[in-house]
């Protein structure tokens, strides 16, 4: 049965075959989207996934010590182990309303594409396989990972990979958007905060005249902007967050900058981090403030080659389903798998849009089942062994 699903014409019609599951997928998506899950507060989403796993008779489904939702579908031979992972946390504050709107063609909700949809699909995988009559040879691990984003630094998936007693042969990171997304290498990333605090007036050094924290941070920013970054290896310093001040007429005592450095070269990241560290230390002394550079998240550059059978298999599945591949790098959980020499890809499930200040996130319903079919096709290909490196 499994092999026949990959036959000519069968895979192509899979989205239609999956149609009876569409409302269940959407229901999972809506319910997950309603649950706030900033990093470290994913427990309710974890419970949701575990309920789904338990209902699918995955008797050993449980949360691990890192709080990840983990379920296992034992294979007929257990010869290989396949990992499907979706991060459960979002960058949306729990204080924001998590309202969901389902229109005829799309679902609108905070962080719906990143990554409520990924989690919804992982939670539905047992039902999808059951619906299609698929019994895998490989053990399939379904993981909803915790503390992936921000300061979480992939803590959940790191723990899982470091403590799983059996080797993982291939991994698929499931992301909500965009359909066609195919990541098989990870760009090196370092994320850091620079904090700048004016010293307490009772401290002697204040008499030198500490400056407004925002002004000092501005000096630091200017110095960082002056760091030259090469185009090869591709390297970029991206400043993404700035926070300071409470009122127009109060000079801030605290200022904070969030930035990331990405590069195809880990050495380049290390060098730039060293430069920024020096800048911060110098400005701290020069302006008599307490400034600190804290790198809280880092991933190594790396990946599998384009010629890897897993990449070829995914491209074949995409072509047969009419999906236009969009290949690029990813700072997602993929980097943790790659760092452990596990062949892995990140796949997007549908089209949609990340929200902005003026427009909420949305995902399109129409391409959803094509995304799920792509996932099934990839799992089957891995299971059949055609993705193994010769």
């Amino acid at each position: 049965m499994n092999a026949s699903l990959l036959e000519e014409g069968v895979l192509e019609s899979l989205p239609e075959t999956l149609l009876p599951l569409r409302e269940r997928l959407l229901a999972n998506l809506v319910m997950l989207s309603q649950i706030p899950a900033p990093s470290g507060e994913e427990a309710e989403r974890v419970r949701f996934l575990l309920d789904r796993f338990t209902e699918a008779h995955m008797s050993d489904a449980a949360a691990d010590e890192a709080g990840n939702a983990v379920g296992r579908l034992p294979g007929t031979t257990g010869e290989r182990t396949i990992l499907l992972v979706s991060h459960l946390d979002t960058i949306v504050s729990a204080l924001e309303p998590h309202e969901v709107r389902v229109e005829a063609d799309r679902v609108i909700a905070p962080a719906v594409g990143d990554n409520a949809l990924g989690a919804a699909i992982v939670s539905l995988v047992p039902a999808v396989l059951d619906h299609l009559g698929i019994r895998l040879q490989s053990d399939l691990f379904l993981v909803g990972s915790t503390r992936s984003l921000e300061r979480g630094n992939h803590a959940g998936i790191r723990f899982f990979l470091d403590h799983l007693p059996q080797p993982v042969h291939a991994g698929i990171c499931v992301e909500g958007i965009q359909l066609g997304r195919l990541n098989f290498f990870s760009i090196g990333t370092a994320r850091a905060d620079i904090t700048c605090s004016v010293r307490d007036t009772s401290e002697a050094s204040r008499s030198y005249g500490s400056e407004n924290a925002l002004v000092v941070l501005n000096h630091i920013i200017n110095r960082i902007l002056a760091i030259s970054t090469p185009s090869r290896p591709y390297t970029l310093i991206r400043m993404g967050k700035l926070r300071a001040g409470v009122a127009y007429d109060v000079e801030p005592d605290q200022a904070e900058l969030g930035l990331e450095i990405i590069s195809h070269s880990d050495e380049m990241i290390e060098r730039i981090c060293g430069q920024i560290d020096d800048i911060v230390a110098e400005m701290s002394a020069r302006h008599t403030v307490d400034a600190a550079f804290d790198v809280f998240f880092s991933t190594k550059a790396g990946g599998i080659p384009f010629s890897h059978p897993l990449v070829k298999c995914v491209l074949d599945v995409m072509a047969r389903l009419g999906i236009e591949p969009d290949q690029g790098h990813s700072p997602s959980e993929l980097s943790e798998l790659i760092a452990r020499d596990i062949p892995a890809v990140t796949l997007g499930m549908t089209r949609g849009k990340r929200g902005s200040k003026h427009e909420p996130d949305y995902v399109l319903i129409g391409p959803l089942l094509t995304g799920v079919a792509q996932l099934v096709g990839t799992i089957l290909a891995i299971d059949s062994g055609v993705c193994d490196e010769s």
């Binding site: 809506v30 709107r101 005829a104």
Partner: protein, 338 residues
């Protein structure tokens, strides 16, 4: 302060002890989490359950309501045999969205045309009795932003579990106790300012219904077909009083559904709602010969607004027309072989 030492407050009317009813007829939705059991028991009893979602321009919320309730309570666990939207003539995409996710969509004015047509939620609920086929009808408002299957199984559960219960009303938030001891329970503004005082005066037992105006309830067809339906604001109040008058408090139950997020209405709109509810209430008082009025009640609600420093009176005609018990409609009797 020890609440137990508090003397009961004298009402000046005969003592009404609702404690036994509260203990035996007040549920929490988690009492019915075992949906598989509910489905088995429903099938064993040979019951069918229909869900009615009355709508008027609810495109923002109808999609997620249908998706979740259909997926969880029809596809996964077949508790619901039918999901239908009964619409008052929406001008937005409500009907299109509802149909796209598999709900049956009825435009209220297209059905029972021989009975005429009125616009209002009560009209839709009344026509739903004709349009839907279930032995149990669940009514759920379609403006709920945090829809969850509990909104249905929490209401259907008591009816499947206990054949003596005929009608179940939703309330929200745990009412009786919390970690800090006792606290007052609260309905909405119209409930606390209008309905509870009126119930206290004329139907003291019904004060035990914590949120009499909540828009979610389930009932057996056998009783719903026997009662009249106001087409407008008064439908919830009338249902409660009429079922209570026919069957007594023990035919009623209520379930805590935890939390409901929905649009908040402005006070001025609640004023119109209160007017409609009051008219219905007074009509029940007259029927029950609890009061005598010399004249018919006026149907005009007057509100005021100020513009350019001048006050202007606005008159709202709120008639509160009532539909006869649907059992008296020939087409209904024919369809259901009554």
């Amino acid at each position: 302060m020890n609440p137990e030492a508090e003397p009961s407050v004298s009402t000046g009317s005969p003592a009404v002890d609702t404690s036994q009813w509260l203990a035996s007829r007040t549920f929490h939705h988690s009492n019915f989490w075992d949906i598989k059991w509910l489905v088995e028991e429903k099938q064993r009893q040979g019951l069918t359950v229909s869900l009615c979602l009355p709508t008027l321009n609810e495109e923002a919320t109808i999609g997620q309501e249908i998706v979740i309730l259909k997926a969880e309570l029809a596809d996964r666990y077949p508790l619901l045999d039918e999901i239908a939207v009964v619409d008052s003539g929406s001008t937005d995409r409500t009907c299109e969205i509802a149909a796209s996710f598999g709900a049956d969509v009825y435009i209220a004015s297209d059905h029972l045309v021989e009975c005429g047509n009125y616009r209002g939620k009560g009209e839709n609920l009344w026509k739903a009795l004709y349009l839907l086929r279930g032995d149990i009808i669940v009514y759920v408002d379609s403006d709920i932003k945090n829809i969850h299957p509990r909104f249905v199984y929490g209401l259907v559960g008591p009816l499947i579990q206990n054949p003596d219960i005929q009608y179940v009303k939703a309330f929200y938030d745990r009412p009786m106790a919390y970690s800090g001891g006792l606290r007052p329970t609260g309905g909405g503004r119209v409930t606390e300012i209008l309905i509870r005082p009126l119930f206290s005066l004329f139907y003291p037992e019904l004060t035990a219904i914590l949120q009499p105006l909540s828009g979610e309830y389930a009932g057996r067809r056998a009783i719903l077909e026997q009662i009249p339906f106001p087409v407008g604001y008064g439908v919830e109040t009338a249902m409660l009083i009429d079922i209570y008058q026919r069957l007594g408090l023990h035919a009623l139950a209520q379930t805590d559904l935890n939390r409901r997020i929905h649009r908040n209405q402005e006070t001025i709109a609640l004023g119109r709602m209160a007017f409609g509810v009051l008219r219905t209430f007074v009509s029940r008082l007259r029927q029950d010969q609890k009061i005598v009025l010399q004249d018919a009640l006026p149907s005009i609600m007057r509100q005021f607004e100020v513009a350019d420093g001048r006050y202007r009176q606005i008159e709202h005609v709120i008639e509160e027309i009532e539909r006869q018990p649907i059992l008296e409609v020939p087409a209904y009797r024919e369809k259901f072989h009554k």
